[in-house]
């Protein structure tokens, strides 16, 4: 039972759920970082070893030179004992030093990521925003019109689109919109923006970036709107059966008020727990979607770096994606606790 808490906001901040969640988040991030260290640096057949061997066999380096080069690229001191390596690694991360790219020689990993990450954030957020809003509105609509033609059609649509893998839907869009029906200039839409356009808050630029993000955006939205719709539909249906909805009608409240503040506000709550999962899924799927459409986001970079055996970049991206997902989980959680007074 929630009891009223005596003490200022600061005191409340440090006890209770929020604080615990933040701690747990930091702990998880820490573990992921450590695990990455373990895998990359210690496992047999790990990237550093492989790279050293590569340098020795293909570049005819001797072991020491190979080791030195590897050490500088991966931003670790291979001669130092393990725990020192670990600490140095952590320190480097704090500074934002993620090493240097193997393939794009000389470029710091953090710089590469900084160039690609914004596009992923852009495409993921507009897609999530669209599919969430459309999904909950349609979900509520078909809950009210249960059993109607609209309900059957939308539910079938939602079931199918959420079952088919998102990358396949991407391919289908290319196959039909571009290849078969010639509706979309798919080759011109590659990349995140066209060369020659100055970035900034001007119309040509904004139009351009939307032009390039259109196909990935369409794919994300089509593949995720269905599940939001279905979850919202079932949540609304069970909320409609609640006593407080009947009681609200008994009090003579207008339908609009009941729909939004009594049904909507309560039906939407379970969706926020799905929001976190959905974020992880979209970020994960970005690897495939961006690659298919050649959209220069972080997922595309990941694919490229794996194909090029660029281990330092791979490691950096993996960390960034994971930290991004973990942090957005935390944000979604905090958002939920703001919305549901029972949790506060």
């Amino acid at each position: 039972m929630a009891t009223s808490f005596r003490g200022g906001k600061l005191a409340r901040l440090f006890s209770g759920r929020i604080f615990k969640k933040v701690i747990k988040t930091i702990a998880t991030i820490f573990i992921v970082i450590s695990l990455t260290f373990l895998i990359i640096h210690l496992m047999p057949g790990n990237p550093i070893q492989i790279y050293i061997e590569f340098l020795m066999t293909n570049m005819y380096m001797d072991y020491d030179s190979a080791k030195a080069l590897a050490a500088s690229l991966f931003a670790i001191d291979l001669d130092a004992p393990i725990h020192i390596q670990y600490v140095e690694w952590l320190r480097g991360l704090m500074r934002g030093d993620l090493g240097v790219s193997i393939w794009a020689t000389g470029t710091p990993v953090s710089k590469m990521i900084a160039a690609f990450l914004p596009w992923t954030l852009f495409s993921v957020s507009i897609s999530l925003f669209t599919s969430f809003s459309v999904g909950i509105l349609l979900g509520m609509l078909i809950a009210y019109k249960r059993g109607s033609v609209l309900d059957n059609v939308l539910t079938a649509f939602a079931s199918v689109t959420s079952a088919i893998p998102n990358y396949l839907i991407g391919y289908l869009l290319i196959l039909f919109l571009a290849v078969q029906w010639d509706l979309v200039p798919i080759f011109a839409m590659r990349g995140a923006m066209s060369p020659g356009i100055t970035p900034g808050f001007n119309l040509p630029f904004i139009a351009d970036i939307f032009f390039h993000v259109a196909m990935p955006y369409l794919t994300y939205v089509i593949t995720t709107v269905g599940s939001w719709m279905l979850i919202m539909k079932s949540s609304t249906i069970s909320t409609l059966g609640e006593d407080y909805v009947t009681a609200a009608r008994a009090r003579g409240l207008p339908d609009r008020r009941i729909t939004f503040s009594y049904v909507g506000r309560n039906a939407i709550l379970p969706l926020f727990t799905s929001l976190a999962i959905s974020l992880g899924f979209i970020f994960g799927g970005s690897t495939l979607i961006e690659t298919i459409f050649v959209y220069r986001g972080i997922g595309f970079l990941l694919w490229q770096s794996v194909a090029n055996r660029d281990y330092t970049v791979m490691q950096g991206i993996f960390l960034i994606i994971t930290i991004a997902v973990i942090t957005s989980n935390l944000l979604a959680d905090l958002l939920y606790s703001r919305i549901d007074p029972r949790i506060r």
Binding site: K24, T28, I31, V32, I39, M43, P44, G45, N46, P47, I50, S159, V160, S162, A163, I164, P165, Y167, L168, Y171, L172, I174, L175, A178, V179, Q180, I186, G280, F281, F283, G284, G285, T287, L288, T291, I292, G299, L302, W303, V306, A307, R309, Y311, M314, Q315, I317, F318, I321, T322, V325, I326, N329
Partner: protein, 303 residues
């Protein structure tokens, strides 16, 4: 002596009814579930019989045979080397389905073991298992697989290690559900009664707890299956898993990486594996909907 035998055969009959007969009858009733089940069955049959009835066409033909539209001889047309697409399709599902089923099986096994351990033992075992589960849950699955695919130590050409890996990444979700079921059953009256009658823990698990959790387990098996299909085909498409050419995913990967995806004529060849995978996933989801009703009598549709 005879009495024991009678009781045993009674028990066997009861188990068969609960686990086989009744579910089957219920599958028949739920239209969507029945359709899903049938399609899945057909896919499995196709995968098993395919190689025998229509072996892989490996003969490259001259240019005029490339990307032909469907005909009697080639119901799904031909590929970029003039080979029969249908033969590739019926031969290409084996690995995909094998990995999917294995992954589903391992996931359920792992999740059940972990979930029950956590639920029954409680305390530090519980906290440890749940902590590991949470960490695995928060790490985005596909990027992790992508990174692991680059490591030499992990052989992705073999179905079994791949399935195991997928299972290791998928068990947390189901184990949570199993754990909470175990926890709630620990409190429930009929388990208390069974304990009071001193029926033994194993008996309790299998005859009381398991039947009630079957719905979770069955549905989660299907979800693990669809997740495994998503992951492996994704990896194949990105070129990280070098399976042989008849694999549905490989067909798509080749069309894309060779650029033949963009030819108008290749549509039948590219669409076939895409359709197969889409059908597999959709049928699985439809089937899982009916499973929810089967093992949980309260959810069954009335009359």
């Amino acid at each position: 002596m005879l009495g024991d035998k009678v009781v045993q055969s009674e028990a066997i009959r009861r188990h068969i009814t609960t686990y086989l007969v009744t579910p089957f009858r219920l599958i028949m009733r739920n239209r969507a579930g029945f359709v899903g089940f049938t399609i899945l069955l057909l896919l499995v049959v196709m995968t098993l019989m395919g190689p025998i009835l229509r072996p892989v066409d490996i003969i490259s033909k001259p240019a005029e045979y490339r990307f032909l539209p469907p005909s009697w001889e080639h119901p799904l047309g031909t590929d970029n080397l003039g080979r029969d697409t249908l033969s590739h399709i019926v031969n290409g599902g084996a690995v995909v389905l094998t990995v999917a089923f294995l992954a589903g099986f391992f996931t359920v096994l792992l999740a059940a073991v972990m979930g029950m351990l956590a639920g029954f033992k409680g305390g530090i075992v519980d906290s440890a298992i749940m902590f590991v589960a949470d960490v695995i849950l928060t790490i985005p699955q596909f990027p992790l697989l992508t990174v692991l695919a680059s490591m030499r130590a992990l052989r992705f050409t073999d179905p079994t290690p791949l399935s195991l890996l997928l299972a290791v990444l998928s068990w947390p979700a189901l184990s949570r559900a199993i754990r909470s079921q175990v926890l709630s059953f620990k409190e429930r009256d009929f388990v208390e009664a069974a304990k009071a009658l001193d029926l033994g823990t194993r008996r309790i698990i299998f005859s009381e707890i398991m039947p009630n959790m079957m719905s979770y387990i069955a549905v989660s098996f299907i979800f693990a299956l669809t997740g495994a299909v998503y992951a492996q085909v994704g990896l194949i498409i990105l070129g990280f898993v070098p399976f042989e050419a008849s694999n549905w995913g490989v067909m798509i990967n080749r069309a894309w990486s060779f650029g033949t995806l963009y030819y108008k004529n290749s549509i039948y060849h590219v669409l076939s594996p895409i359709a197969m995978i889409a059908i597999l996933q959709t049928a699985s989801i439809m089937f899982s909907r009916s499973l929810e009703g089967i093992f949980n009598p309260r959810l069954r549709e009335k009359g």
